[in-house]
Subunit: 237 residues, 2 copies
DNA sequence: TGGGATTTGTTCGTATGTATT
DNA sequence: GAATACATACGAACAAATCCC
């Protein structure tokens, strides 16, 4: 359950977690509206709670909200996807820099155990779970830095990257992740920060390249986009 | 007004902005409690609004909140300060990479005008304003990337960095920032991404080094900290 | 240790604004 | 184009937890 401060206020956090998981695993598709009282009835809580939970998800960047309109699940554009991954690569580089050569044997074991879970999910063919676990591996790394700020940002970015992968990736695109994660652990155990950083960078770039193939033709998904193409001037309003 | 989505819901955003500015300029000191009722009366709104505003600030990392306790202004530790700046350096590196050689003359002018304001504030000896404007310079850069995600994270980090600088920096520590900002603009105008990146990195490192001198002796600021030193075992509970 | 004052957690009713037929 | 249905915005009040004396 990445992104969820478990020490959180109230039922609010539970609702937020539920919605977050549903969003990340794409059980709720991007663009779907999230009316407060519908969700409230579904979970048996009042609108107030739902309101707070949605506010939380908005702050994590998983949900869009505009005045007097229903909140909706974000619908990342291809550019958003790339920006998010670029940011994640930068943050993760920081994480690796701190971690390389400082991991305790216990921590290494935790990581290896987690990768074991990833392998099982992959073998079972559970794609959404694979993606989620792969994301959690990186959250786990961030947690080992013991830096609240790095942890928070990494969780947030990992959540969004999960959603993006669910959205854009083709089947089996995470097949190789397990081997790469194992290699990363090996490198983190060593003292060579630079090699570990390069490996992580390479790993994430590979994930992006496997998943985020730029669509051959831009497919506009709204009337406005279509009209924009035929507009006499390239105005944007 | 960095960090403030101006298209925001309601008065909520206005309250959040007011509190944010007060926090950043250290008009409200770190650790200060923020009772919903009191703030509501102060601004003439109900607790609901205040609640939402505080939630927003919590999500930006400027305010701490724990169940059944008053929200408080964050009190960044020296480690937090360093983590935040490290993260900022990473994000800003990304911003510069995108920006170098792509700025339009108009954008360059906007930046130069802003630096002019910085210089005026510096000459007027208005330290908090100087710090705030220096932060806004970097938010401005982020906005020119046209990437909503980069913009959001940069604003958030800039806010926190402002608070940290207000907290830890000694007088006149931002004296040289103006010249460095001018140099950055020159480099961004050129096409050499690598040189611009190095310059930004150097600039931010310089800011950190000027401001975040590690305190010679750790000065504990709570009874708990003091007692911890004398505790028979190094227990943390 | 205990009790009262303060503050948050939560619900629900009403008002206001948006979308749709 | 207007009326209706629907969803959010906001506020007042009650219950529960915490803090302070």
């Amino acid at each position: 359950m990445p992104g969820a401060p478990s020490h959180s206020t109230n039922r609010t956090a539970a609702i937020a977690d539920a919605l977050r998981n549903a969003i990340i695993e794409r059980a709720i598709s991007p663009g779907t509206r999230l009316p407060e009282d519908l969700i409230g009835k579904q979970f048996g809580v009042s609108r107030t709670i739902v309101r707070a939970a949605i506010a939380q998800l908005v702050s994590e960047g998983l949900v869009d909200q505009r005045p007097n309109r229903s909140a909706t699940v974000i619908k990342p554009s291809w550019e958003d996807a790339n920006d998010t991954f670029d940011l994640r690569i930068a943050v993760e580089d920081l994480v690796v820099s701190r971690l390389a050569g400082t991991l305790t044997p216990d921590q290494v074991q935790v990581l290896r155990d987690h990768v074991e879970l990833e392998e099982q999910a992959r073998k079972a063919g559970d794609e959404p779970k694979s993606i989620r676990l792969a994301g959690e591996f990186h959250s786990l790394l961030a947690e080992m830095t013991d830096s609240p700020i790095l942890i928070r940002y990494m969780r947030e970015l990992a959540s969004r990257c999960c959603l993006i992968l669910s959205l854009f990736s083709r089947p089996h695109s995470s097949d190789c992740a397990v081997a790469e994660h194992r290699e990363l652990i090996d490198l983190l155990e060593s003292n060579d920060v630079e090699i570990a950083r390069r490996a992580m960078n390479h790993h994430l770039s590979a994930v992006v390249n496997r998943a985020l193939i730029k669509p051959a033709a831009k497919k506009p998904d709204s009337i406005a986009d279509i009209l924009a193409i035929y507009a006499p001037t390239a105005g944007d309003a």
